[in-house]
Symmetry: C2
Subunit: 225 residues, 2 copies
């Protein structure tokens, strides 16, 4: 993999990533100044980001003011699914980009209107690779792992799991049907990211949803006070 084309990708990528990181740092400062806690939610497509957030929003919006930015290559389906739960929601269509970038968040935050928010949730594009290297100015990054994806995903996509402060195992209602090896999954997550909090949820049955909402509220209070 030492061809010149790869070398060029990496060289150019570095400059762009540094620019993204600089803007992300400025966004983080600005969000902190405004007292807004920012959550970046990442996962493979279909791991249940939107369903988890839809089930969590009402628990959050009864206590704090929440805004949501959702990224997808195409469609505004997720924004529609997340509306009506007490939070303003804005969809970004990335038109081919496999991740959100800090400049997209800057524009989206302006459009959404973040003044007065306590919590800004960013639902990233469904992808276990590209979002890992794009800081969005968030306070915490949370990666979802659905029981249907297989216990080895933390080992196969270590970068994104390593950069996460929490991992949410989703769709636990399907664990038996897919013969999910819970101990193995937790061992794999912990081996890649020992510091991450691990939560287990089922948006369908509601199991673990309150604990997940409580985790976010506690993290928000600890950061913003």
């Amino acid at each position: 993999m030492e061809s010149s084309s790869n070398a060029r990708v990496l060289a150019v990528g570095k400059a762009i990533l540094e620019k993204n990181d600089g803007l992300a740092s400025r966004l983080r400062e600005e969000f902190k100044r405004q007292g807004i806690f920012v959550l970046n939610v990442v996962s493979s497509p279909g791991s249940g980001k939107t369903e988890l957030l839809a089930k969590t929003l009402r628990l959050l919006t009864s206590q704090i003011k929440v805004g949501v930015i959702v990224g997808d290559l195409a469609t505004n389906h997720d924004a529609e699914r997340l509306s009506g739960h007490g939070a303003e929601v804005l969809q970004i269509e990335t038109d081919g980009y496999c991740h959100l970038e800090a400049n997209m968040i800057q524009s989206a935050a302006d459009q959404l209107g973040v003044v007065g928010l306590d919590l800004l949730i960013i639902e990233n594009v469904g992808n276990l690779v590209c979002p890992a290297s794009h800081d969005l100015g968030e306070d915490i990054r949370v990666t979802l792992l659905s029981v249907t994806e297989g216990e080895d995903k933390p080992l196969k996509y270590p970068t994104i799991f390593k950069s996460s402060q929490a991992v949410v195992i989703t769709k636990t209602d399907l664990a038996t049907a897919v013969e999910f090896d819970r101990e193995l999954a937790i061992t794999n997550i912990s081996s890649v990211t020992p510091q991450a909090k691990i939560l287990e949820t089922s948006a369908r049955t509601g199991a673990g949803i309150e604990a997940w909402a409580e985790f976010l509220l506690t993290a928000q209070k600890a950061k913003i006070g």
Copy 2:
């Protein structure tokens, strides 16, 4: 999304993609000259690419000579899972790349040894975005959609579905448990890629595996003769 950083990504990307496409065309010619039919399998992480291929390989290798190249960011788990089914298997660790590129296939084909093969199967990195724009010199591209991912994925990731000649719905044994809307999924696939053959499989129960193997054998014979 009109910032200069985005413009640079696209401009540089275009040159690299053109270089990739040129090499892919040469690989396609070379594979054709050698009578090797090439399949590029793409999907989201955890959609069941490896399990589907593991269950299919024995049916194929009893009739034709098959080689497999597997791409992952890290680990050689998939190559291990695919070995012992009568095909030579080579793992590419992309170390951060969210897709395989034609130059990786060129190197891997040299290492694997493709002389005498009838079918070369490439299992791409689990990703519904990046592999879409990287031609690997394949004859057909097949995208998998597991019933657990949701029926809307073809609409949310149209590029990769549009570029596929077949779509394999996987994990159909879980369809009832996840309340999979089969008609809606097929409608969505057909709306994005009307020409694609749609197959339905369960690696766990074996449903549809023979039809999928037959599809590949027929496509291989039609192309290579």
